[in-house]
């Protein structure tokens, strides 16, 4: 990987649309990225509004795809973009994954959620993880930046939102690169200028100015 990438993950409710579009775009841009969903199950639109298609996390996108194609309403799924979405997803990774059971995936430096509810859920879960078990002696908590970029759950907005997320991630990495360069050359007045944590709010503000249609939340947590 050319980029000295932070460990990043994207999070939405079902790990299908918004987090997967961002996952794909970040991956294509060369970042170290994974994605998760915070919902209790994977919920996709069904033939009627009160009859969603529900799958368990871990069901491969391939299976979901085949299941939808075998349904009567498959023409509708094709026209509303659902089929296209799953086709994209199965080329990015195998199956939707649940945030709350993601300990196997290791720790992330940057978590980007796509909905305020998901942001709340992630922080709430991280708070819980701090206390739910005695730390192993080898355990050392690590700082994680959690950012929410609010994205409406449809195809077009998922695409636009993901572009915004890629931009934000790029800005953060560019900051780190510049800091590295400045540190090497000694071309800084105050070392604080070089620390990501000291400048995170400034970077977010700068990004927000250019993305007024994407609302944000941010917090620091440990895990």
């Amino acid at each position: 990987m050319a980029i000295d990438s932070l460990k990043i993950c994207t999070v939405c409710a079902s790990n299908n649309n918004r987090s997967m579009e961002s996952h794909k775009q970040l991956k294509d841009a060369g970042y170290d990225v994974k994605s998760f969903g915070t919902g209790s199950a994977v919920r996709l639109p069904g033939p009627l509004i009160d009859r969603p298609n529900v799958y368990e996390f871990g069901t491969p996108y391939e299976d979901i795809y085949n299941d939808l194609m075998s349904q009567e309403a498959h023409k509708m799924y094709e026209s509303n973009g659902l089929i296209h979405m799953l086709n994209r997803n199965r080329h990015v990774k195998r199956a939707p994954e649940k945030w709350h059971a993601n300990a196997y995936a290791g720790k992330f430096d940057l978590v980007i959620t796509c909905e305020e509810r998901c942001f709340d859920s992630v922080i709430d879960d991280l708070m819980y993880r701090l206390v739910n078990k005695e730390d192993a002696d080898t355990e050392v908590k690590q700082v994680v930046h959690v950012v929410n970029v609010d994205i409406k759950d449809d195809n077009e907005n998922a695409f636009i939102g993901a572009k915004g997320i890629v931009k934000l991630v790029t800005m953060i990495h560019e900051f780190k690169e510049r800091a590295k360069e400045k540190r090497k050359n000694g071309s800084f007045e105050d070392e604080s200028e070089l620390l990501l944590e000291d400048n995170m709010m400034r970077i977010l503000t700068e990004w927000q100015r250019e993305h007024t249609h994407l609302q944000t939340l941010y917090g620091v947590a440990y895990y």
Partner: protein, 684 residues
């Protein structure tokens, strides 16, 4: 240095691949942390962090406890290295070491020495929380609150660990806390430990009470407070009191952030409060007397959040936002922008008109009373900070001027410096650095440009009559005349930059530089061949002469070398008879000739013949170029005329000219045949 790090890497690999060897390797690395080199210190801190986090299949847990006990001194040492990377790793290693050693002492009453050291490490690390270590302090507290967030977030982890271990937790199996320490322990006195932890908790809560919002620290604190709420119910009331009093309306915009950043900060912290409250309500951690408060606060932050949820928060006007009172200096930069006293001492806005007021126009008595009044008014702390800034600017300027040597100069004590000053000390500037080739080229092209700009300058005619004989022995330029510039320039190319192979001389590169000048003269000539023929003739004459003299000199030197370095008169004569090659001259005169031949018009007869007659040396090859002129019906006349001229006035090339004519006479163009045959008959 790379060697040492390489060896260390090997040791590290050994440690991680050999469970038996690990403790021994780690113990051998401990003393290296005392090395003054930052690369090694960083490496050590990283290794300690990784080693103490190593799982039990890599490092025996029992051995790890012993190692942790022995590591305390080393970690204490590394915490004092002013480098964020070292400090960060050391905090992480200390988290593990603290746990292990603390529990060891709990189980082994009487470990006085170990306990004392651990207390020292704990106090040192926890004491750094909410300071700027390892950064220098800024000139205001407000700036410092917002600086060094990176390390403070790390320190918060350690502080929370201390709080967890030094306070009781309700009996839960598995979780270690003060409850598990023997109440009669002779070293770990519960009251003392609790009081200490309580003080630390107060410090943690402090960031919520600040009058500005430092969002990363505030939000991180709130997630940690959830931990307190779960584990230390006895302190939940204290925590809720602070959360209840946390009021966004009372926070100021910092002078070091934009109003947009402040707006976002308010939104972000509001959300964190909401999540904290929802979390504690969900897990039924809220004390009964705070239930109502918590619910009210939740609905308050929820409605505030919903209000801005879909709106562009940056665009929402809020006249209630006020900036915190600024304690700093308008111009607090610690690097000197310009090397003058004004920039050194200026702490006000540099654009302020007041700065251009010349105080020397005031009478001394007024100045004195003004100064006394100002000094009386100045707060000592602020004055000291101002002087600190000036001192730092002075230091940075010194470092910038002469490199790291000056760093050792101590400027703390002004009197001291006065004593050390001696007027006898001789200061020398460092010698200038040699130019590299690219820089040389750049400068040369600048020089060439400057020469050509002289060509356009009007120089008054100077009358310096001298007899020709004297001139030969005189210097080339006595007074600056209209044509002096190209005398100098041609000599620069032909003599100034001609180098004999020798030590540190790259002949090819020198030649390339000289060719830059030649090309420039050539291009100048091409731009107007009619009026600049004199210049080109002068140049090529210089070129030939210089090259001949130079190559003859070389030949002579070679002969002398064969004769033990002695030059004899015979040798000089011999050299005179040698045909010295002049390849550079030939190359450039051919170029000039070629360009002339392609440019000249039928009316340019005079200048072309002038060139042919004044070039110092013509080769057969150069003469044969005239042939192409003869083939051109419009300019054939010039061609034949020049050949005729050369036959008559330059005997050395007569035969070459006749050869050309012969070729033409034997050719298949009748008109040329006729003309050539006519000339051949006349001169051969």
């Amino acid at each position: 240095m790379a060697d040492i790090v390489g060896q260390l890497e090997q040791a590290r690999n050994l440690a991680f691949s050999n469970r038996e060897m690990f403790p021994q390797v780690l113990r051998q690395v401990f003393p290296l942390a005392g090395n003054a080199d930052l690369t090694i210190q960083r490496w050590c801190s990283q290794f300690f962090k990784d080693a103490f986090r190593a799982s039990s299949d890599k490092l025996d847990p029992a051995a790890k406890i012993d190692l942790a006990i022995d590591a305390v001194d080393t970690l204490l040492l590394l915490m004092q290295v002013p480098d964020h990377e070292v400090v960060k790793n050391t905090i992480d290693a200390s988290v593990v070491v603290f746990r292990l050693v603390y529990r060891y002492v709990a189980d082994n009453d009487g470990s006085n020495g170990i306990w004392a050291k651990l207390q020292q490490l704990k106090a040192h690390i926890a004491g750094k929380y909410l300071t700027t270590w390892p950064l220098d302090a800024a000139d205001t507290n407000e700036a410092d609150m917002r600086r060094n967030i990176e390390i403070n977030l790390e320190l918060l982890k350690f502080v929370m660990l201390v709080i967890d271990y030094q306070l009781r937790s309700p009996t839960q199996p598995g979780f270690f806390s003060l409850s598990k320490v023997n109440p009669n322990h002779t070293l770990m006195k519960p009251q003392q430990l609790e009081a200490e932890a309580h003080k630390l908790l107060e410090k943690v809560l402090q960031v919520l009470e600040w009058d500005i919002l430092v969002t990363p620290v505030v939000t991180a604190t709130l997630t940690q407070l959830a931990f307190v709420a779960h584990r230390k119910p006895q302190f939940i009331t204290r925590v809720f009191k602070t959360v209840e009093n946390f009021d966004l309306a009372s926070k100021y915009q910092s002078n070091y952030e934009s109003v947009e950043e402040f707006k976002l900060s308010r939104k972000y912290t509001d959300r964190s409060i909401r999540i904290f409250l929802s979390h504690t309500l969900k897990y039924q951690l809220v004390p009964p007397n705070y239930q109502q408060v918590a619910n009210k606060k939740v609905s308050q932050v929820v409605s505030r959040g919903d209000e801005v949820r879909r709106r562009d928060i940056l665009a929402i006007e809020d006249p209630s936002i006020t900036k915190r009172k600024f304690e700093g200096f308008e111009n607090g930069t610690k690097r000197l922008q310009n090397l003058d006293y004004k920039s050194l001492y200026c702490l006000t806005d540099p654009n302020n008109e007041l700065n251009s007021f010349d105080l020397t126009t005031l009478p001394p008595n007024i100045l004195v009373s003004m100064t006394i009044a100002a000094l009386n008014k100045a707060l000592p702390e602020r004055l000291a900070k101002g002087l600190d800034i000036i001192c730092l600017r002075y230091n940075s300027a010194l470092q910038g001027a002469t490199g790291s040597e000056v760093k050792k100069l101590e400027l703390d004590d002004e009197d001291d410096n006065m004593e050390n000053f001696s007027s006898d000390t001789v200061f020398t500037l460092p010698p200038p650095q040699a130019l590299n080739f690219a820089e040389k080229k750049e400068h040369l092209s600048l020089i060439i440009q400057n020469f050509f700009s002289l060509a356009d300058q009007k120089i008054p005619e100077v009358n310096d009559k001298q007899d020709t004989g004297a001139q030969l022995t005189q210097i080339a330029i006595k007074t600056w005349k209209k044509d002096s510039w190209y005398v100098l320039l041609t000599r620069l190319a032909t003599r100034g930059m001609r180098a004999a192979p020798g030590e540190g001389i790259d002949v090819e590169k020198e030649q390339e530089l000289a060719d830059m000048v030649r090309q420039a003269i050539f291009d100048y000539f091409l731009a107007n061949i009619h009026s600049r023929i004199d210049i080109v003739i002068e140049w090529l004459n210089e070129e030939w002469y210089a090259e001949k003299v130079f190559n003859e000199g070389k030949a002579l030197q070679k002969m002398a070398q064969e004769n033990n370095g002695v030059v004899t008169e015979e040798m000089r004569i011999e050299v005179d008879f040698l045909t010295t090659p002049t390849p550079i001259y030939e190359k450039w005169s051919s170029k000039v000739l070629d360009s002339m031949i392609s440019f000249i018009e039928p009316g340019d007869r005079k200048i072309f013949i002038r060139l042919l007659s004044d070039l110092p040396y013509l080769t057969d090859e150069m003469v044969s170029r005239i042939k192409s002129l003869c083939y051109d019906p419009g300019r054939a006349k010039i061609g034949f005329l020049s050949l005729q001229f050369l036959v008559m006035y330059r005997p050395p090339v007569k035969s070459a000219c006749l050869n050309v004519l012969k070729e033409l006479a034997e050719g298949d163009q009748d008109d040329l045949k006729e003309e050539a045959t006519k000339l051949l008959e006349k001169y051969s």
